[in-house]
Symmetry: C2
Subunit: 199 residues, 2 copies
């Protein structure tokens, strides 16, 4: 004997969420049934609406429900000529929160990973190439992660930019602000020595 | 700047799930948008259907989408005259998996907790009393948790049964099967001594 069909279906459906196993799927289903049916109905509608209407911005690949996202439609941002290339939408938010960058983005929605079958086409590099040839891009800023795959992706895009004779930069690496030397990993510390600057 | 409205709404809606904070809500939203839209649409439908159609069994209070749940409609189970009283639907599943019990259940959907405003009415004790006066119940088996609140709830129901002159039992406590003495907590061990049985 199991739960009733609709409850089983609900528990099973929760398993599509990352990090949700059998036990927490059960806990979620009963918490909503017992204490928060209106929240559950809101979640149901939000899931439906987002999956039906959110797609990729035709210019930067970021998620949006419009043809072109808010940032891409911002004339002031385009006028900077700066195009920051990131792996995913969360990176855009992180950079926006730093308030340092006022240009446009290109969101790869992943990174090169040949063993997972993720090649240039999967991360939108043909669209990026087209974007980089447009007049308004003056500098490509590589902000992929500083992981092995992120670095490989940055290297690939660097080659692309060089062929187009477009200036390309990479975010600086070093000791984080407020960071204590003894807590910084040795690779980061080594890099910070090599790229030290005059004061 | 934040995500687009539909994505914000989705992230916010995930917060209704127990144990889901801002970061994991974000992770869930993007995982579904990027990799599993069909799973998300299934979850949306499952949530809607469960919240709309799952209610309490009129006889035992367990969740069901029918007027009376499968177990309550089982004539063989009712014929045993055994009514097992548990705190929640997951307890029913746990007991069913032990394959020891073939009677009926009454699901309190909680436990007495006066400081949280959960009194007899909130855990369906009026309905339980009515059920206990029915001819077919011959023994009430208290299977609430062995926590302070579970014990208080069991005590309250015991009094109710005694007034109705109905035999009432409580699940045995003791050392778990396969349990090593040195790993059993001292309260459990003390109880096991007091209630030791002749072999
Ligand atoms: Zn865009
Ligand atoms: Zn029932």
């Amino acid at each position: 004997m199991k739960f009733s069909p609709l409850i089983n279906e609900l528990i099973e459906s929760f398993r599509c969420l990352p990090g949700v196993g059998a036990k927490s799927a059960q806990r979620m289903a009963f918490a909503l049934l017992q204490k928060n049916r209106s929240g559950a109905l809101k979640l149901s509608a939000a899931l439906h609406d987002a999956m039906e209407h959110v797609h990729h911005c035709q210019t930067c690949r970021n998620f949006t429900e419009q043809t072109e996202c808010e940032i891409c439609r911002d004339e002031q941002r385009r006028a900077t000529g700066l195009l920051c290339i990131v792996e995913n939408p969360q990176d855009v938010i992180a950079i926006e929160q730093s308030s340092e960058f006022k240009g446009c983005y290109f969101v790869l929605m992943g990174r090169l990973s040949p063993i997972d079958g993720i090649g240039p086409a999967e991360i939108g590099l043909p669209l990026l190439q087209q974007r980089l040839t447009e007049d308004d891009v003056k500098e490509a800023i590589l902000a992929t992660n500083f992981t092995m795959e992120g670095e490989a992706t940055a290297f690939y895009i660097t080659e692309m930019c060089k062929q187009l004779q477009l200036p390309v930069t990479r975010l600086a690496q070093g000791v984080p602000i407020g960071g204590e030397l003894e807590q910084v990993d040795s690779n980061t510390l080594g890099r910070a020595f090599k790229t030290r600057s005059a004061i």
